[in-house]
């Protein structure tokens, strides 16, 4: 199939970006979206032009490195997948595809479609851990945990930190990411001693880094490749309120 791409090109964090039009011809519909970009990039290299920069690593939807906004949707039109799992059969011959970076003040563009997501790491550093030294790993099931809690904690732990929730949010808020990280530890017994310090630290850091404020639009859940639920945001709000009186 033949496609028209409108790709955001930006040389560096402090330069102005613009959309550049490319033609991607003879693309197999078995190709992944990234393989399609690889083909376009090869042609650019042959012509002596700069490749389109984009970040990726595992290309199987587990690392959280990739991510771009495709026709207005982070990770593209299919729900529940990362950009690297998107395939060209999703598009039609002759389609025009707009490709933009995740846009948020707290996640500035490094180059083209690559954004700096270290602000999300700072949120983790502010409490997304358990600091008790517990020695070797225990036997499985040594600490009994209700099935409902362990399932919920696992759902929250599925977050791969890609930042699509921030990209999708009309407020550029990182509440879905932060709430997933807060809940995944806060639901388990090991996470209890630091539960309120954690939520406070992580929310404060989130705000200091310049993310926006959640107004419960729900776009984050719809964009999330791991389909993390906004229920975790309610949980975070509840924990944060309790932390205010501790």
């Amino acid at each position: 199939m033949n496609l028209i791409l409108q790709v955001w090109r930006q040389d560096g964090p402090d330069t102005k970006g613009r959309f550049v039009r490319y033609e991607a011809n003879n693309i197999s519909d078995h190709a992944s979206f990234f393989e399609m970009l690889d083909i376009v990039n090869e042609q650019l290299v042959e012509k002596g032009e700069q490749q389109i920069h984009f970040s990726h690593d595992c290309r199987e939807g587990i690392c959280g490195t990739c991510g771009m906004v495709i026709n207005g949707t982070p990770h593209g039109p299919d729900p529940g997948i990362t950009t690297c799992q998107l395939h060209m059969r999703r598009f039609k011959d002759g389609d025009e595809i707009w490709v933009e970076p995740f846009r948020a003040t707290a996640m500035p563009v490094i180059k083209d479609l690559v954004v700096d997501r270290s602000a999300l790491d700072c949120i983790i550093q502010a409490g997304g851990y358990i600091s008790a030294n517990t020695g070797n790993a225990q036997d499985a099931n040594a600490i009994p945990i209700p099935k409902r809690d362990s399932d919920l904690a696992m759902d929250a732990a599925a977050c791969i930190g890609c930042g699509a929730c921030v990209a999708a949010c009309p407020n550029a808020s990182a509440m879905l990411f932060t709430s997933a990280k807060v809940s995944h530890l806060g639901l388990l017994p090991q996470g209890q001693p630091e539960r309120f310090e954690r939520v406070r630290g992580m929310v404060e850091t989130m705000e200091d880094k310049g993310f926006g404020n959640c107004t419960n639009h729900g776009s984050c859940q719809n964009a999330c490749p791991k389909e993390i639920s906004v229920d975790f945001i309610a949980r975070l709000n509840g924990d944060f309120l309790k932390a205010g009186f501790k």
């Binding site: 846009r103 003040t105 929310v203 404060e204 107004t215 419960n216 964009a223 949980r235 509840g238 205010g244």
Partner: protein, 227 residues
């Protein structure tokens, strides 16, 4: 102290202020709507009700005092509500300076996207409404104390009734998202009841919007008239 301060400083804390003030405004709206329905029981019943509002608190408080206390409390609540809305709006606006060329709407409901403009419409409406039926300066034939007659004459004007109805639709959108959103903000998220939040918010919203709109519609339809 540090913890309470962090509550105040953070947007999560401001949302809690917004949700609690919103719930008070909502409760007040319910009372106001139910009171308005007295208009269907005739001039005497309605004027008696309007007059009775001023006598609330009797004999502890003098004529009209309780109403003034309520007015000040309501004003304070609205100011808190708007302050939190404005400060989280400014924070969110700074969080994305350069927007997308293409945007696909991924939000759960249309109502959530109307909150900010809807809030401004409500504010304009509230000011007009007070000038219209409370102060009387925006009313063509206002007679202090003659609540029923003021209402019927006011609503006989199609433009005025139309604006009231539009404002109530804006209120409906605001409440439909607001009630659900306040549940999220206050962690009212019990797995057994969670899925009821949307339908219940919708039912309450319909109840309120229909209740308010029934009054101007009945005046225009000639059901509620001057004797």
């Amino acid at each position: 102290m540090r913890s309470v301060f962090s509550l105040y400083r953070s947007s999560v804390g401001k949302k809690i202020v917004m949700a609690i003030s919103g719930i008070f405004l909502f409760l007040w709206i319910v009372g106001h709507m139910l009171g308005n329905l007295k208009v269907f029981f005739g001039q005497e019943a309605f004027d008696h009700y309007a007059h009775g509002l001023k006598e609330l608190g009797d004999p502890f408080l003098l004529h009209g005092q309780f109403l003034w206390i309520i007015r000040f409390v309501m004003l304070a609540i609205i100011v808190l509500h708007m302050w939190s809305a404005l400060s989280v709006y400014l924070q969110s606006r700074a969080a994305r300076r350069l927007g997308y060329r293409k945007t696909d709407d991924l939000t759960f409901t249309y109502a959530s996207r109307t909150m900010r403009w809807g809030g401004v419409i409500l504010l304009v409406y509230i000011v007009y409404h007070l000038l219209h039926f409370t102060v009387g300066s925006a009313h063509p034939q206002f007679v202090p104390g003659a609540a029923y007659a003021n209402l019927v004459i006011g609503f006989r004007n199609w433009w005025v009734s139309g604006f009231y109805i539009v404002a109530m639709l804006a209120l409906g959108l605001h409440l439909y998202h607001g009630l659900w959103s306040a549940c999220q903000t206050l962690n009212f998220n019990n797995p057994m009841l969670r899925d009821l939040r949307r339908p219940v918010a919708l039912l309450i919203t319909l109840f309120i919007v229909l209740g308010f709109c029934s009054v101007p519609i009945s005046v225009l339809a000639g059901i509620v008239t001057l004797p």
